[in-house]
């Protein structure tokens, strides 16, 4: 199915994403053909090309429609949210189920935990992942451990926290960070990051319905830029299952979210030099699908991990360590990590900070020629 579409979204007043540095030259091949979806329903009624924020919007509509005990709330979500992800929800489902909160992230998440503890689906939005830190205590100490410390009497499994993460080209210090690794250190929550509109819809619905609290990071660079065909109806994609989105034999590349698009470009470039790359989308960071990555590395003998967050203590380190444990004798080169630098996310130096295609290409070549 032709689902690999790319469109530069028109410049909007809400989010001015540009592709001046060629970062999003292609999303081709990134999208999963719908035939491959691990969905019980293979007969899609209609697939319309939509962008990522619209796919999220569809998922939220379905979540509220299919479960009368689902709620959506956060800063400015009542009028559609700053990225338009919640457009139309308040009109359709009423202000009692879709509502604005004050600017108080700690309060939002604490409130959501309580709501979920009563058996509801609490879908909370933190406006930017950079603002999630006031709520860090609630997520780490309240949400993640509620089930464990109450001996399974209570839980907040209905909780899903959505937050846009990552670079946008000019976001600066507080609108660009990728904080996923902090949350991957917390047993009791799941961390999920989609790479495309279709993935976003299917994964978000899974997260909302998952009986565990989930932090769902949305790649905000792709909100408008990534466009692909998305089934209109209700469908779910499994959590904790990685996906091989490009097969290859020389090196395995593992990533998630918006970074996969850059990695895809690097794969295409490397192929011109005769290097065959296998690209894996991890999708769920914890608990993550070690088996898929392990099988791939056993095939290729080499591994490269890439993420936007700073390299030190990033989730790439965990993948690297686990694969070394499992595939030590099969590895033909040290595991390569191409990640953000160990600096605060910069404003004017963003192109230097980011794990760009060329950095990746250098790492692919030096790993293969090790």
């Amino acid at each position: 199915m032709a689902s690999s579409l790319r469109r530069i979204a028109r410049l909007s007043l809400i989010s001015r994403y540009t592709s001046t540095d060629g970062r999003w030259n292609t999303l081709r091949g990134l999208s999963t053909a719908t035939d491959d979806l691990n969905s019980p329903n293979q007969c899609w009624t209609s697939n319309k090309p939509v962008n990522l924020f619209s796919a999220i919007n569809q998922a939220l509509h379905i979540a509220l429609e299919t479960d009368p005990r689902a709620y959506v709330f956060g800063e400015d979500v009542g009028f559609g949210g700053v990225f338009r992800c919640t457009t139309g929800l308040a009109d359709r489902f009423g202000k009692r189920r879709v509502f604005n909160t004050p600017l108080c992230e700690q309060g939002i998440v604490g409130f959501a935990i309580g709501l979920a503890a009563m058996g509801n689906r609490a879908i909370a939005e933190i406006q930017f992942a950079d603002y999630i830190f006031p709520a860090f205590d609630q997520i780490v100490n309240e949400a993640a451990k509620f089930r464990y410390r109450s001996g399974n009497q209570f839980n907040c499994g209905g909780l899903t926290i959505r937050a846009p993460y990552g670079a946008v080209g000019h976001g600066g210090h507080y609108h660009s960070q990728s904080p996923e690794a902090f949350f991957c250190h917390v047993p009791g929550i799941k961390v999920v990051i989609p790479r495309s509109p279709q993935q976003a819809k299917g994964l978000l619905l899974s997260c909302i319905r998952d009986p565990n609290p989930v932090v769902f990071f949305e790649p905000k660079w792709l909100y408008r830029l990534a466009v692909e065909e998305v089934p209109e109806q209700d469908f779910m994609l499994p959590l904790s299952e990685a996906e091989v989105i490009r097969e290859g034999s020389d090196i395995t590349l593992v990533g998630w979210g918006a970074q996969l698009s850059i990695m895809e470009q690097a794969c295409v470039e490397a192929e011109k030099d005769g290097i065959s790359c296998e690209l894996i989308d991890l999708k769920t960071l914890i608990p993550w699908d070690k088996e898929t990555v392990e099988a791939s590395v056993n095939k290729t003998g080499r591994l490269l991990v890439s993420h936007e967050a700073p390299i030190t203590g990033g989730f790439g380190a965990e993948i690297s360590a686990s694969i070394v444990e499992r595939c030590f004798l099969r590895l033909e080169a040290p595991v390569a990590r191409v990640c953000g630098l160990d600096t605060p996310f910069p404003l004017v130096f963003e192109p230097f900070y980011l794990p760009t295609k060329n950095k990746m290409l250098d790492a692919i070549k030096s790993t293969v020629n090790y």
Binding site: D21, E75, D76, L103, F133, G171, L347
Partner: protein, 390 residues
């Protein structure tokens, strides 16, 4: 005092140093004038100060000039943003100028100010220059944070301006820390910790209030209430939008934040109070003409009529203009000339800022820790200049 200053020299001077050249000021500029604030103050657990504010022709004219300059600067920043010369997030202050100018008139540079991300005009008020402002906005070397901070991160250490903070409400407890240090060092100075009506609902404010009151810190919590926390009207987000009362046990004062003299009177009063008795909240009833940030047109959650109404009836510059004319301190034409001067000054500063080079790529690694710490890096294209650990 009154002399024509060469304009290009003004570029590098803080605004208050720019001299107003009008007739008759040489002798009369310091003659006191008494003006009445637009509205009475409302106090919470405190007797409010008098409505009569003492000023001078010189101060009136400088208020006019400073606010006109701030407004022009913000309008220019808007254009630069649209021309993509300013990247990142950018929050404009036009409409709220009276708060910056009035506050500065009541305090000294030894008093500290800390604010959130709508910080350009506070910076200018603290003595920052247009060149530093525009350079920082455009990420240039001559910026006040070497081009590394951008719009939300302006700082000026030599005049006690602690910035420029990006996370809503996070700067308020920092302000208490500053005030504690001032008190501990037995300085007779205070800290103004500024936040918006949106931030007033953050838990950090209440933690900060408790500490400040518990230890009688000379902290003045200034709530700039522009009535919209991003796109949400205050009454949709706050059970009680009477922010001056939200400190419960901490006294508060409601001030017309569109009247620079009311702001000045309130800040003077608050400083005296804080030095003697500890914290106080000042709620400045103000208004931003622009949207929350550059991505917000500012018209989806409020009517155009509302914005026009405020512009016509409460505009802070217009109020000062009327006072100047009523006291016959300058003619309409002279005020127009001031506006032209200001416009020219802004244009010149922008031209100069554009000449300032972008921050050196090696700056990517500096200031993370005391010493540089990093590796070699390159931009999106490997042919671009590389950054190396300094």
């Amino acid at each position: 005092m009154a002399q024509l200053t060469h304009r290009s020299a003004n570029l590098l001077k803080p605004i208050s140093a720019a001299v107003f050249a009008t007739r008759g000021l040489t002798t009369a500029s310091t003659t006191p004038i008494t003006v009445e604030t637009s509205l009475p103050f409302t106090g919470h657990k405190i007797d409010p100060p008098s409505r009569s504010v003492e000023t001078t022709p010189q101060e009136l004219l400088s208020f006019y000039r400073d606010m006109a300059l701030m407004r022009r600067m913000e309008i220019a920043a808007d254009s630069l943003y649209k021309a993509k010369l300013i990247r990142g997030f950018c929050h404009l202050y036009d409409g709220q100028e009276a708060v910056a100018v009035g506050m500065e008139a009541a305090i000294t540079k030894k008093d500290c100010i800390i604010t959130a991300y709508r910080d350009h005009c506070i910076y200018l008020g603290r003595g920052g220059t247009l060149l530093e402002t525009f350079s920082e906005l455009m990420g240039r070397k001559d910026g006040c944070s070497k081009g590394k901070g951008g719009s939300m991160h302006f700082y000026k250490k030599d005049s006690g301006f602690y910035g420029g903070h990006g996370i809503v409400g996070a700067q308020i407890p920092l302000g208490c820390g500053l005030a504690f240090a001032q008190k501990y060092n037995k300085e007779e100075h205070v800290t103004f910790a500024m936040y918006g009506d949106g931030a007033a609902n953050q838990g950090q404010l209440f933690e900060a209030l408790n500490m400040a009151a518990l230890w009688d810190l000379p902290a003045i919590l200034v709530c700039e209430n522009n009535h919209y926390g991003m796109g949400t009207a205050e009454w949709r987000a706050a059970k009680s939008p009477a922010y001056y009362k939200r400190g419960d046990y901490v006294p508060g004062l409601k001030v017309d934040g569109m009247d620079a003299f009311a702001v000045k009177q309130a800040c003077k009063f608050a400083k005296e109070h804080a030095l003697k008795n500890g914290p106080i909240i000042l709620e400045m009833d103000t208004y931003r003409y622009h949207g929350h940030s550059m991505s917000d047109p500012g018209s989806t959650y409020r009517t155009r009529d509302e914005i026009t109404g405020v512009r016509q009836e409460r505009d802070p510059i217009e109020r000062i203009r009327k006072l100047i004319l009523a006291h016959d301190l300058a003619t309409e034409k002279e005020l127009k000339d001031t506006e032209k001067e200001v416009r020219k000054e802004v244009d010149e500063a922008i031209a100069k800022a554009k000449e300032s080079p972008l921050a050196d790529p090696s700056e990517l690694f500096t200031n993370v820790y005391v010493k540089g710490f990093g590796v070699e890096s390159f931009g999106a294209d490997r042919k671009e200049v590389r950054a190396v650990l300094p």
